[in-house]
Assembly symmetry: C2
Homo-oligomer: 260 residues x 2
């Protein structure tokens, strides 16, 4: 398939590399920033463009890998070619593309990408939605070329996925940084926490998280929780986070609500 | 070294296996529950006892791997032998042992253990504290026999470590289970989130978490955050957790406070 990539960020970079490795052809890479467009285009053997008017219709698929709020404004540059257009966002409804064209879909990789870190794309869950069954099938086939984890996900479900990812990934990373701050405040290195963080994530590869919940809250160990809150004196935000999460753990694990 | 293990839970199990593999000798395993004592004792070639009065002084080290609130009550059974006694708790001060004996220390493995999951003990951070320098050196040597990550940590620091672990491990696991709940509510499997969770943990092996913080809060993307809160209507606890963590991310990343 001939593929045009709109964007040059982390998703654009990892996605176009995966497609190229699977034997597809990246024809153009667009970015507002010519340097970024050229860098990615060079890696995947494509033409770099920084003016939307230089984008050609000699392609089979446009992949929008740009910021959520830039998507709607960009579609009119592409919809005239009447080729398949997909976006890669967890939070944007398919409808935003359907306002301009029926030849549309979503190709959402549920993963966090960094430019400097390799990701095995075969493990990345790809969430597919098409405007009709034929488009969905095309996108599914394309997704299977680069990943073993392909799911049909509608716009409502995709938003829930994105929200769940905020809790399980973004907030989790923030808890890591709270851990780092606390250690630094007592002259200790974050290295001491790294093996525990790795093991905590590793455990849920085989278990449901609710089945392996550790800590004072799940034991309803009030003495330890009081001592922890005492240690957080002067850090009201951390006290609040500690209290709120502990209370919710106690509630859910003592009523068996949801997960035990 | 001859070692007596008090307790038969996860810490007792992994610790005694590591010591045995390193060539030390486990002489006795005590548990209130004879079945548990016998099971662990069998694995490490020790004698099982379920009555504290059957514990002998023919040992070099007593390791208390029992619940925090059971530690103080157990020490009198052991202190008469005048052998080195250590506990393995993150939250208990060395002083609790010093009330009974000066031949005391702490041997705290900063890791989450499950009975059914192997852990490479050489990666486990071992946090050592001794009543004096000679004891500290003895415990350090012992710790190095089974781990590459040995730290001297005093009682105040150890409490901070334990608190940091609650944030970075216990609360993190709870966020995983919130993710699972959200997906289940829309008919999706937790499997879809597992690769993202693995990658989020993997990233901070090489980076500081504050340097790789993803998500709408760090971008101050108010539209997405409002949409997420809307989706959590009817789940006030989750709304509160979402708001509190997002606000704290915004505050810390926009002022550069602490970590950017």
């Amino acid at each position: 398939m001939r593929i045009t990539i709109i964007g040059s960020g982390n998703v654009a970079t990892h996605l176009s590399a995966a497609f190229k490795n699977a034997g597809h052809r990246i024809v153009q890479v667009y970015s507002r920033n010519m340097h970024n467009a050229a860098l990615l285009a060079y890696h995947v053997g494509a033409e770099a463009v920084d003016n939307p008017k230089d984008i050609t219709g000699d392609t089979d698929l446009f992949i929008l890998a740009i910021k959520d709020d830039a998507i709607a404004a960009f579609v009119p540059y592409l919809s005239t070619f009447n080729k398949l257009i997909v976006h890669t966002s967890g939070a944007v409804e398919l409808q935003q593309l359907l306002n301009f064209t029926n030849n549309a879909g979503v190709f959402y990789p549920l993963q966090t990408f960094s430019k400097t870190k390799e990701v095995n794309f075969r493990d990345v869950p790809l969430c597919i939605e098409g405007a009709d069954e034929a488009i969905t099938k095309t996108l599914e086939g394309l997704a299977r070329d680069i990943s073993n984890n392909v799911y049909r996900v509608n716009s409502t479900q995709r938003k829930v996925l994105h929200l769940a990812a905020v809790f399980a990934c973004n907030f989790t990373n923030y808890l890591y940084s709270i851990g780092e701050q606390l250690l630094a405040g007592s002259g200790m290195s974050f290295d001491m926490l790294r093996p525990l963080i790795a093991e905590t994530a590793d455990k849920i590869k085989e278990h449901r998280p609710a089945d392996v919940q550790p800590g004072p809250a799940v034991r309803n160990d009030d003495l330890t929780m009081q001592a922890h809150l005492q240690m957080l004196n002067g850090q009201p935000a951390l006290q609040e986070i500690y209290t709120l999460l502990s209370q919710d753990i106690i509630k859910n694990h003592n009523t068996g609500h949801g997960d035990k």
